[in-house]
């Protein structure tokens, strides 16, 4: 077998970026309302050059609806896949992911509490749900991992997954209790929990870009430590990794990423779980290659899932989580079966 490079080479970066951009462009051109490719190009070119726009409908649809949404979807996909890959390495656990560990449920609980009790932070008027989602994502992660450590020091797959599933159920029952007391806001909460990327705007795009840039680079610079962790926590300690610090940093970073994503698009499961596995088959297990490749892969996967959600039943939209779960679960079982058979 050909020896793989340690780094993600420039050529590979170019290929992955090109594929992602191609899918992104495709998703901007295709939608529930069909707009001729020529008009789409004109609208975007005019927007970039600042020339007055000709047709009003196409402008509204592309610049105000489709573009911000597609960008949010790509960034969420990248962030979720990246955090999935980092967690799988850190916990040496192929099933680790925001949704299986219950972190996403925790983040939604935070957001639901923020909606139900109208929690707002004076400095950041509309960030109430986001901050609560991040805080709860982190607390959930601490709680689940703490409990798992108590029960099973080796943090084996089954223990963590079981606790994650139990925690998700526990959280959903707490959410039901809150909904029972929320009175007037029941409807808001119910619609929120269904999750939607419909309200994506450029502010969301900025927030996601910021979170992804900061957290992404933090995780990327921990790739060597993650490689050590992937062999085992003791191994990491022996080769001189500050285990506790690295772990804390990675967990906080992952919580921020998942919290931001959940507060913007609701819980989207399976992206973080499946993408790193698919990507690993392409680029191998080295985190210095796996992390950037996962980010690209996640963006492409979620873009395609969102495209399906937008156009399959037009004018009706499917919740994106339904598409990712359906496709993701099947793909995952297939990958799992293939790797185990070998």
């Amino acid at each position: 077998m050909k020896k793989r490079a340690e780094h993600f080479r420039t050529m590979e970066y170019i290929i992955f970026t090109a594929v992602t951009l191609a899918v992104l462009a495709g998703c901007i051109c295709i939608g529930s309302v069909s707009i001729p490719l020529k008009d789409t190009v004109t609208v975007i070119r005019n927007a970039v050059t600042g020339t007055p726009q000709p047709e009003a409908l196409a402008v509204s649809i592309i610049l105000s609806v489709r573009l911000p949404r597609v960008l949010c979807v790509a960034l969420s996909g990248a962030a979720l896949a990246l955090s999935g890959a980092a967690m799988q390495g850190l916990l040496k656990n192929p099933l680790a992911d925001g949704s299986t560990l219950g972190v996403s449920s925790g983040a939604s609980l935070g957001a639901v509490i923020a909606i139900a009790f109208g929690i707002r932070f004076p400095a950041l008027p509309f960030a109430g749900t986001m901050i609560m989602a991040i805080v709860f994502a982190f607390l959930s992660l601490l709680m689940i991992l703490g409990l798992s450590y108590k029960l099973d020091y080796s943090l084996s797959t089954n223990t963590i997954i079981l606790i994650g599933v139990i925690y998700s159920m526990f959280v959903s029952s707490i959410m039901n209790v809150i909904i029972a007391f929320a009175g007037d806001k029941v409807k808001d909460i119910t619609f929120w929990t269904l999750g939607s990327l419909q309200n994506s705007n450029y502010q969301n795009v900025l927030i996601l870009t910021g979170a992804f840039a900061v957290c992404g680079s933090i995780l990327f610079f921990r790739a060597r430590e993650l490689n050590a962790f992937a062999v085992g926590e003791d191994n990491a300690r022996h080769v001189g990794v500050d285990v506790r610090r690295t772990k804390l940093i990675v967990l906080i970073t992952v919580s921020v990423l998942i919290g931001v994503c959940v507060s913007i698009g609701g819980t989207i499961s399976f992206v973080g779980l499946v993408t790193p596995h698919m990507v690993r088959m392409l680029v191998g297990p080295n985190h210095r290659r796996l992390l950037p490749a996962s980010a690209f892969g996640g963006a492409v996967f979620l873009l395609l899932a969102d495209l399906a959600a937008r156009i399959l039943l037009s004018p009706i939209e499917l919740p994106i989580g339904v598409v990712t779960s359906l496709v993701g679960a099947l793909v995952f079982i297939f990958i799992f079966y293939q790797t185990r058979k070998r």
């Binding site: 089954n158 808001d188 269904l194 705007n201 004018p315 359906l326």
Partner: protein
């Protein structure tokens, strides 16, 4: 060595089976949650109450007449699932699980007979003083039995045969009220009126509704060329609208308007792009306003990309936030009048 290998192999196999089964469980759990959310939307559409209402519309009045000849105070009704229910005398203690049935009871002047209400009943304000019981999927039979009602009024959404049998064993008559169109609402009012021995009041409520509807339908000058969009959930949580087979749609066509999402059946999440393309002339939102931030109207006016929607340009947005158009109750007439005044002025 060979033996070791074998053991290792079976262990691995076992582990794989275990992990796979966990995965399958996860998968089905997800599938299931996916289904339930779509189900609720579907449920409201498929209820065959329309037929029942149409078939049996004239029957109850006759039967009641026959019943009263035999036993003085006895009342008989056929509920909206086609079940015949006979009471020895008009009901005195009622538990109503749906908000619409509570509204009907108050409208016919039987609010004081209400001894329990579903959690979501909120109109008129007095109803909030009545003890609340869990409704829908969480219906708690014990809670209801403890209130010792003669009759339980509910919709046919979440209750099972077993639950109905349990209630009937406890001496509580279960009456199902499930209206999916305005004809059905008339039937429900008439049925509840008979049940309470208040037929005349019920008839008066129905007549007043009919008068309102025929009045506005006559005065409405629309010819179906103008379109209206009903916003059930704001953009923040994903746009949901009311399509055909909803009260909103029925009232829109009564006013000579076309629902711009008439190709959606019941309630559904719709694409923002489609809305911009369909370009409605009027927008009705039922989003609640909690007194902070922009009002629902302002929020719609400020949405990016909506500047060119006719309704936004004309500021033709109405907020009906007290369920006037979403509940099968007498207030549908109020909602219809508010919509009429909004569109045709005064």
């Amino acid at each position: 060595m060979k033996h070791m290998k074998h053991v290792k192999h079976t262990q691995r196999k076992k582990r794989m089976v275990r992990t796979l089964s966990i995965l399958c469980l996860l998968f089905f759990a997800l599938l299931f949650t996916g289904c339930t959310s779509t189900d609720t939307a579907a449920e409201t559409q498929d209820v065959p109450a329309q037929e029942t209402a149409a078939e049996t519309q004239d029957v109850p009045a006759q039967e009641t007449a026959a019943g009263t000849q035999d036993v003085p105070d006895a009342v008989t009704v056929i509920d909206m699932m086609g079940r015949t229910i006979t009471l020895e005398e008009p009901a005195r203690r009622i538990v109503a699980l749906t908000a619409s049935d509570c509204e009907i009871l108050y409208a016919i002047g039987a609010g004081d007979t209400l001894v329990g209400r579903g959690t979501y009943c909120d109109y008129p304000a007095e109803v909030l003083e009545v003890p609340a019981v869990e409704s829908g999927a969480n219906t708690n039979i014990e809670e209801i039995i403890a209130l010792k009602p003669d009759v339980l009024l509910m919709s046919d959404m979440a209750q099972t045969e077993d639950q109905i049998a349990q209630l009937e064993a406890a001496g509580i008559q279960v009456v199902v009220s499930e209206a999916v169109d305005i004809e059905g609402v008339y039937y429900a009012i008439e049925m509840i009126g008979t049940l309470m021995g208040l037929e005349e009041n019920a008839a008066a409520v129905i007549d007043s509704m009919k008068a309102t509807f025929s009045d506005i339908a006559q005065r409405a000058s629309g010819d179906g060329s103008e379109t209206i969009y009903f916003e059930v959930s704001p953009l923040q949580y994903g746009l949901w609208t009311a399509g055909t087979h909803t009260f909103m749609d029925e009232i829109a066509s009564m006013l000579g308007l076309t629902n711009c999402f008439a190709d959606v059946n019941g309630w559904g999440e719709i694409s923002e792009e489609q809305l911009l393309e369909r370009n409605p002339d009027y927008i009705v939102t039922i989003t609640m306003y909690f007194g902070e931030g922009p009002t629902p109207e302002e929020e719609i006016l400020s949405r990016a990309g909506w500047e060119n929607v006719t309704a936004v340009q004309n500021k033709a947005i109405l907020n009906l936030q007290n369920n006037e158009l979403s509940r099968p109750a007498p207030r549908l007439a109020d909602g219809a009048r508010m919509l009429f005044e909004f569109i045709y002025g005064e």
